[in-house]
């Protein structure tokens, strides 16, 4: 009896291992559906866990701050928020100037007007430390194809208003919309790619635009590649996301934290970017919906 049980156990193990090896060859489009199914089933529990973690973390954050430190933190936060808003508004104005310059007689929508934001909560994360993915609690069952793959995702600074799009920053893209949940790929995930603009910091008073490709690295840092050395890039310059299909106006990603000449291609910069937000602590996001139309759970502006 024991021998028969042992043999059946070994057989079952052999079958499941064969299944796993076969599953390695399945296309991502199929296996991602299974992942989304599991996420959909578990998301109510994750949502409950998120509520618990928010209840625990919010009182703890105030424990070790003195009065002076708290005031300083509030001021710093307000200053950061203003800085973000300022950079985004600069791009809006530049676009307005361009349109007016073309002397169009048609009614114009500038910046993020005409774009809807689908508000979502971050309810879970990738169970592996190797990837920086988050699970959002909105899916195609409610929004249809308005949540698209590669859609840009924004998030406000801590304490920011979800209805004020110009106080938000780019934090990633939707990598896989599912029926009940969607997967957000953060900027610092190793597979992340996004076209970006680099503009000089406001205090430099210079006027040029460099283009590059923002890439997430496997150690969680963010770099920008393919920026030529003809541009006088410096630490503190602004990095903006540019994606005409998914973002009507460039939006802030962060600031340059380090720039050196690339070892492998000396005519290019090796740039490291500091994200404007702490990507590990985002809890509410807005998915940019370029399809138009009004609906519940969206923010208009």
């Amino acid at each position: 009896m024991e021998y028969r049980e042992a043999k059946s156990g070994s057989k079952l193990y052999a079958y499941v291992m064969c299944f796993s090896v076969l599953a390695l060859f399945l296309p991502r489009s199929l296996t991602d559906r299974l992942d989304h199914l599991v996420c959909g089933v578990l998301s109510p529990f994750w949502g409950g866990g998120r509520m618990v973690s928010l209840m625990v973390s919010e009182p703890l954050e105030g424990l070790d701050s003195s009065v002076d430190g708290a005031d300083y933190a509030v001021l710093l936060e307000a200053w950061e928020r203003a800085r973000v808003t300022n950079e985004n508004l600069r791009q809006l104005l530049a676009q307005q100037r361009e349109v007016i310059g073309e002397l169009s007689g048609l009614p114009q929508e500038f910046g993020m007007a005409g774009v809807n934001l689908i508000l979502a909560d971050v309810v879970g994360s990738d169970s592996s430390n190797s990837r920086r993915m988050r699970t959002l609690n909105q899916g195609t069952s409610d929004w249809g194809d308005r949540i698209r793959r590669e859609a840009v995702v924004l998030s406000p600074l801590a304490g920011g208003n979800m209805n004020d799009v110009y106080s938000m920053c780019v934090v990633g893209r939707v990598s896989g919309p599912g029926p009940w949940t969607s997967t957000l790929q953060l900027l610092n995930d190793r597979g992340f790619r996004l076209g970006v603009l680099i503009v000089p910091a406001a205090e430099r008073g210079e006027n040029w635009v460099a283009r590059g490709v923002l890439t997430g690295r496997s150690d969680g840092t963010i770099s920008v590649n393919m920026v030529q050395c003809e541009y006088a890039v410096e630490v503190g310059d602004v990095v903006l996301a540019e994606s005409r299909d998914f973002l009507p106006v460039p939006m802030l990603v962060g600031w340059i934290s380090r720039c050196d000449w690339d070892d492998r291609t000396p005519v290019m910069w090796d740039i490291e970017v500091r994200a404007a937000l702490d990507l590990e602590s985002i809890s509410r996001v807005a998915i940019v919906d370029m399809s138009g139309g009004n609906d519940r759970g969206t923010a208009e502006h």
């Binding site: 156990g9 070994s10 193990y13 169970s127 990837r131 190793r190």
Partner: protein, 169 residues
């Protein structure tokens, strides 16, 4: 192995790991211990010889379904790790915490490298990124290994519910 209790353990662990595990993470990147691997090592170290590899496989599958890894990569890694540990545990003496820490460390490194290998073969990971990935893998392995004695203690408190042997033979 009591499979219903084991199933509850897997579901609870997945909810903790993916739900609010990041809150417990260390450093700016919130590195979390790999709780699923921790249970797999303890069960492979202590569990029934025929059922432990299957249990490890199920834990790997749970990790596959809640991560962005290729489906089957963690399942294969956990399954092979479980099988290897079940066969080699006879060569190991004692139940000391240091032994479990070393086993967990080696297992975590092995499983993550198997997963990276599959990702490389599928074109989802390039060798240039290995340096950065290794940093994260090492930190995860160290953190998981440090928690492994506590994980074993917790699981052995409920050894009857999980059908584990109270002592190693």
């Amino acid at each position: 192995m009591r499979w219903i209790s084991f199933g509850i353990l897997v579901v609870v662990t997945v909810i903790v790991q993916s739900g609010f595990g990041r809150l417990l993470g260390l450093g700016p990147q919130r590195i979390m211990p790999d709780l699923l691997l921790l249970w797999a090592v303890v069960i492979a170290f202590r569990g029934n010889k025929e059922q432990a590899p299957l249990a490890c496989w199920l834990l790997g599958l749970a990790k596959d379904l809640t991560s962005s890894a290729i489906l089957g990569s963690y399942a294969v890694g956990f399954g092979l790790m479980g099988l290897a540990l079940v066969y080699f545990r006879e060569l190991l003496y004692g139940e000391s915490a240091l032994l479990l820490i070393l086993l967990t460390l080696v297992s975590s490194l092995l499983v993550e490298h198997i997963t990276l290998l599959f990702a490389t073969l599928r074109g989802e990971f390039s060798r240039q990124e290995y340096g950065g990935a290794l940093k994260v893998i090492l930190l995860t392995a160290i953190l998981t290994a440090a928690l492994s004695p506590y994980g074993q203690w917790l699981l052995m408190k409920m050894y009857r519910q999980f059908g584990l042997a109270r002592r190693r033979h």
